[in-house]
Amino acid sequence: MQLTALEKKLVNQWQKGFPLARRPYAQIAESLQISEDEVFTTIKDLTDRGVLSRIGAVVRPNTAGASSLVAMQVPDKRLDEVAQIISEEPGVNHNYQRENKLNLWFVVTASDTRQLDQTLARIKDNTGCTPIKLPLKKAFHIDLGFSI
């Protein structure tokens, strides 16, 4: 997808430091020397086109409750069915099929570790596949956005 110079600027420069001000778009507009309306409509249009998935806070993992990356080895024939069961779990927030013996990867969040383990036990019961918990031990990089 082609982006205009203004769109590119907004996507690149405002992945962090989005103004915590009463009129954030006015503040962005001021720094770019264009109108608040132009900033707002451009951002709204980027969101409508799906270039931006949202504008908001990126929360640090494990800040609230417990979470873990989980990998599973699922027979190819059953992949869609098992993925469906897992995606329906409310605590699952990323679910990817990947090319590996461990071919299904997802993140489970819960209010605490006990609830997390209960979710995994339920997934095991409902799918017949064993989830392997690979929780974060240390983060080496604070996600500060991504240059396009």
């Binding site: 982006l3 907004l10 996507v11 405002w14 962090k16 430091g17 989005f18 915590l20 009463r22 707002f40 951002i43 709204k44 980027l46 969101t47 799906g50 270039v51 931006l52 998935s53 949202r54 504008i55 908001g56 806070a57 990126v58 929360v59 640090r60 800040t63 609230a64 409750g65 979470s67 990356l69 990998a71 897992i86 409310p90 605590g91 699952v92 927030n93 990323h94 679910n95 990817y96 099929q97 090319e99 461990l102 990867w105 997802f106 969040t109 209010s111 609830q115 392997i132 690979l134 031990k137 240390k138 983060a139 080496f140 990089h141 604070i142 996600d143 500060l144 956005g145 991504f146 396009i148």
Partner: protein, 169 residues
């Protein structure tokens, strides 16, 4: 950064995160709209978000691009079997690379899973991702005994971080 550090989030903080995790409302005064939704004073939402940003509970506030829509369709999860003694030091180096969006140490699960370091690499093509992974391999040198790249072939569900087991209102 150590995950042992704690972030004290009270009920108001949690409600603000829950109300905004799918994005701020697309209006000219988004924080006021959130305050109204939650029945909180106008400036409190801004104050709390600022405090959570300071404490590190919130990493950043900003636009969240969809990499796929922007042509970064090759997302390779590179995984590395790095010497336990060296993994933390090397992780800091790899995590700071511009093309690595996330870098974590995780436990191995032997014999099926010998890898203890994950580095997410984004690119427009697999060739681009593979070049970047080669560069990582060079930096790690013999400290990495083996590595692998797992490409995602299908996104089955993707949403932001959620607070679970709590009502959204």
């Amino acid at each position: 950064m150590n995950i042992q550090s704690t972030f004290e989030l009270d009920k108001i903080d949690q409600r603000i995160i829950a109300a905004t995790q799918e994005g701020l409302p697309l209006v000219s005064k988004p924080y006021e709209t959130v305050a109204k939704m939650l029945g909180l004073p106008n400036d409190l939402v801004i104050e709390r978000l600022e405090a959570m940003l300071q404490s590190g509970a919130i990493r950043r506030i900003g636009v969240v691009p969809n990499h796929y829509k922007l042509g970064f369709t090759a997302n390779g999860m590179s995984v590395w079997d790095v010497d336990n003694e060296l993994v933390d030091e090397l992780g800091d180096t790899i995590g700071a690379l511009e093309y690595v969006s996330h870098c974590y140490r995780r436990p191995r699960h032997l014999p099926l899973w010998p890898y203890n370091m994950f580095a997410m690499v984004h690119g427009r093509t697999r060739i681009e991702v593979e070049e970047k992974i080669e560069a990582i391999a060079k930096i790690l040198g013999p400290a990495s005994r083996q590595h692998n790249v797992l490409y995602s072939t299908k996104i089955l569900k993707k949403t932001g971080v959620r607070l679970c087991g709590r009502s959204k209102d």
